[in-house]
């Protein structure tokens, strides 16, 4: 794990697997904390949406949607909301989330609903101003706020609380926190990703899992949309039967009544698909949330890589400095260095020069040693906290997705029952022909 052999620095990262008692304790502690989470104290409601017009960043007029946030003391349903009941637009939600990402990098930050409609099938609109889209987004934003509010750590954040309560000046106060300076540059993250040598295996596995899950769910959602599209087609064409049966019944005597009533059932059948698919859209939204959650998990993994990388760099830096000290002390040049060459060319330096250099180096080494210790601690702490978060996330995911699958089955059952009803009725009508 060390850059160079022969160094006496101990391994910096021990086994990160928490013992079972440790993990149990963590869970219990978290549950206690959860009890006091914000959500227990207040009800959050994204009550309405509205359209506004204004000027965008390049001074062009634009129309955007805003959402009303109301909070009430828990249990006081229907009461007057407290706080400022701010109107927020999507970009402000994004700002909040970015702030949370930077400030709490060890937390799996709940995702926002998609910026633009994806995975649409032909009946669904991809238009951001379409009322159905706005409505589904409203619900998803409420869900986002509730998730944040029920998180033991996130719920305590002041910026979040202000987001819920103060419309004016929130944007400025977020920026004032200077969180943007704390943000890791994209470049830094990327280079860490490629250059880190020994990331923790659990995190590597986790990253791979989240990538694979991302791929699996997006593939699933794409095909589901196509299936929905086709099903829509089949049902809707049946509506034509209704029309033709009706016309046909006009020229028949004995068959007229049977055909006419059968036609009505065909119309019912054709219309039923709208409700069926709307329900399924909720299911798709649940999957989508977890699709976006994979990005949040990936962020945590990347943060680990970054810290690990910084640790490795610190260790390397320390090793280099120690080596320099050795060279200086023994005069042996083991590695080609400009200093070495220049001393060869321009003559050896004086002992005083060497002494001062050695002293400086010694200080530097001390600083570097401290840096390594700090970084190591940071790394361990990060891994401990983030792993706890990841565990919680996994449990939540397993629980919620299982419920989603169950509700999907219930939807299918409901659809089948409707089908049985309609076709049994039609069969009776046909029998009377």
């Amino acid at each position: 794990m060390m850059a160079d052999s022969g160094s006496e620095e101990a391994a910096f990262l021990d086994n990160t697997d928490l013992t079972s008692t440790e993990s149990e304790n963590n869970i219990i502690n978290t549950m206690v904390e959860r009890e006091t989470a914000l959500l227990r104290k207040i009800d959050i409601n994204v009550a309405e949406s509205d359209k506004r017009t204004g000027k965008n960043t390049v001074n062009m007029p634009e129309t955007y949607t805003v959402y009303l946030i109301e909070i009430r003391p828990a249990g006081a349903e229907g009461g007057v909301p407290v706080g400022g009941s701010p109107w927020r637009r999507y970009s402000e939600f994004e700002l909040l989330r970015t702030y949370l990402l930077v400030t709490y990098p060890f937390v799996v930050i709940p995702p926002l609903p998609e910026k633009r409609a994806e995975f649409v099938w032909h009946k669904l609109s991809a238009d951001n101003l379409d009322p159905d889209f706005v409505e589904r987004r409203r619900m998803a934003l409420e869900n986002f706020l509730m998730r944040v509010a029920s998180h033991s750590v996130l719920s305590k954040d002041n910026v979040f609380y202000q987001f819920l309560t103060e419309e004016k000046g929130w944007r400025e106060s977020v920026l004032e926190t200077g969180f943007q300076d704390k943000a890791d540059s994209r470049l830094k993250s990327l280079s860490a990703m490629f250059r880190v040598k020994n990331p923790d295996k659990s995190f590597t596995d986790l990253k791979q899992y989240s990538d694979e899950l991302n791929s699996a769910i997006s593939h699933l959602l794409r095909v589901r949309a196509k299936v929905a599209d086709r099903m829509y087609g089949v049902y809707k064409v049946h509506g034509n039967y209704g029309r033709i049966f009706s016309e046909w019944s006009a020229i028949e005597k004995e068959m007229g009544d049977g055909l006419q009533s059968a036609g009505h059932h065909m119309d019912t059948h054709s219309a039923s698909v709208d409700d069926i698919l709307e329900e399924e859209e909720h299911y798709a939204d649940q999957l989508k949330e977890y699709l976006f959650y994979t990005d949040a998990v990936r962020s945590v993994c990347r943060k680990h890589e970054l810290i690990q990388y910084e640790l490795e760099m610190a260790v390397l830096d320390l090793a280099n400095k120690k080596q320099q000290r050795e060279e200086l002390a023994t005069g042996a040049v083991r590695v080609f260095s400009l200093k070495g060459m220049s001393s060869k060319l321009f003559g050896q330096e004086s002992p005083e020069q060497r002494e001062s250099r050695l002293a400086a180096l010694q200080q530097s080494i001390q600083a570097a040693e401290e840096a390594v210790l700090d970084k190591n601690a940071e790394c361990r702490e990060f891994m401990r906290m983030s792993w706890e978060e990841v565990k919680l996330f996994q449990e939540q995911k397993d629980r919620e997705l299982r419920e989603a699958l169950i509700s999907y089955a219930i939807m299918q059952i409901s659809m089948c029952k409707k089908g049985i009803q309609v076709w049994s009725n039609a069969k009776e009508c046909f029998n009377k022909m």
Partner: protein
């Protein structure tokens, strides 16, 4: 109708008896609808109205030379009983068309079908026949029947060649669809009270070699000649089409439209369903693939994948029903609409022919007395022809109507039933899955999991 009709019927039967073999086409034409039925005594007829039953049973009594004057009441009652039991006729002849085989000759390649007949009819020498027939042979049979009964409604043959969809003649599905339609064609003939007695029908079912029979009698070309003459007569059109046939024409038009629409709709549903099935077949496996990534979710995900696969299979079956039962029936009745219009047109020709001759009679000078007499006879014959054609058509129209109602009702009922079945099976699949999820997996040891 009553006695006047009876008298005419007696007369035309007599002329028919005379008119057998080696007679000019014109005379032959005069005996439309009078081809005497051999022996109906043993046969129960599948008819709607009492009236029609009387008509045919009267023919029977005349032809067999029985002294029975009234329509045999017993037969009527027998028929009525059948009706009450669900309108099922006692069939004494069963025909199947199967075993399509490719035949290759130097000139052409064609498909030959096996036509198997099992019968208890007395006019058949044996109780079982097996012959090989190709599509052309069916065409020949139909042509012959149309010659003899121009105003009877003959169930349509499958089309010669389907352009739409670029189906090749030897495509498996095409052959199968055609085979079924050919079988329906023959079955419908067997059910028809008049057509089932046709000599050509019997020949078709029993003779090994048809080529000899195909050359017998005035061939189709000479018939075409007569028809052409008929057409030229009716270039100025039939003068006054009786109200009832006007109504039939309207009905045929509307019915044809509706069948065309239904056919199109059904084809569209089949298309959409096929595409749905394709997407569905990709959908299920994605859940299984996801399951491989998970631990806790593996089981429910695999469950959903399984459900989707099973539902896919049910969808396939339902699709089969549409393409093998509903669609062909609708298509056949679409062709029937054309048959109706053709039959009405032929009736018009017959009436026009009579009107033309009649005009000639009334307008001609009384110069040549001998010619006047023959003209009068011809006119009388043509007038009778018109009467017979109208009667035959009238009777067959309601017979056809009943048969159509039964067929379409049965097909639609079967389709609805299949759909109910489909949804019931899918319901069972998902309910089984749901049940498996209700019993929670044994994970209560660590106590950290909140119950769902």
């Amino acid at each position: 109708m009553g006695s006047r009709w009876e008298a005419e019927w007696k007369h035309s039967c007599a002329t028919a008896a005379l008119g057998r073999g080696g007679v000019s086409p014109a005379d032959r034409g005069s005996c439309v609808g009078t081809r005497c039925v051999a022996d109906l005594s043993g046969e129960v007829l599948d008819l709607e109205d009492d009236e029609d039953l009387e008509v045919f049973s009267k023919k029977a009594s005349r032809a067999s030379g029985r002294s029975v004057v009234h329509p045999p009441r017993s037969m009527v009652n027998q028929y009525r009983l059948e009706e009450d039991e669900g309108g099922v006729t006692t069939k004494d002849i069963f025909i199947t068309v199967d075993h399509p085989e490719s035949h290759v000759t130097a000139i052409e390649t064609f498909i030959v079908y096996r036509v198997l007949t099992r019968t208890t009819r007395g006019d058949f020498d044996s109780s079982e026949y097996e012959v090989q027939r190709r599509y052309q042979d069916f065409l020949w049979l139909k042509g012959k029947l149309e010659e003899a009964h121009p105003t009877l409604i003959i169930h349509p043959l499958p089309e010669k060649f389907v352009m739409k969809g670029m189906v090749e003649r030897f495509n498996e599905d095409f052959i199968e669809t055609r085979r079924r339609a050919l079988q329906t064609f023959l079955s419908k003939l067997a059910e028809h009270p008049l057509l089932s007695q046709s000599p050509q029908f019997k020949v078709f079912l029993t003779e090994q070699e048809l080529t000899a029979h195909k050359k017998q009698g005035p061939n189709f070309l000479s018939r075409v000649g007569a028809a052409v003459r008929g057409v030229t007569f009716s270039v100025r059109g039939v003068r006054s089409r009786p109200e009832e046939f006007e109504a039939m024409q309207e009905y045929a038009d509307h019915f044809g439209n509706k069948m065309a629409s239904l056919d199109k709709i059904t084809q569209r549903i089949v298309k959409e369903q096929k595409e749905y099935l394709e997407e569905l077949s990709q959908y299920g496996p994605l859940y299984a693939q996801w399951a491989d990534l998970e631990t806790e979710l593996t089981e429910p995900l695999r469950g959903v994948a399984g459900c989707l696969d099973l539902c896919g299979r049910e969808t396939e079956e339902q699709l089969h029903h549409l393409t093998e039962v509903l669609e062909p029936t609708l298509h056949q009745y679409l062709l029937c609409a054309d048959t109706l219009k053709t039959v009405l047109r032929r009736r018009d020709h017959i009436q026009a022919e009579f009107e033309a001759k009649n005009d000639a009679l009334t307008s001609s000078s009384s110069s040549k007395k001998v010619d006047l007499e023959t003209l009068k006879e011809e006119v009388a014959c043509l007038e009778e022809r018109v009467e017979n054609a109208n009667t035959a058509l009238r009777g067959d129209w309601s017979r056809w109507g009943g048969s159509m109602r039964t067929d379409l009702r049965d097909s639609l009922v079967a389709t609805a039933h299949k759909n109910v079945d489909y949804y019931e099976k899918c319901l069972a699949v998902w309910e089984t899955f749901l049940l498996s999820q209700k019993t929670p997996p044994c994970q209560e040891e660590d106590g950290a999991h909140p119950t769902t």
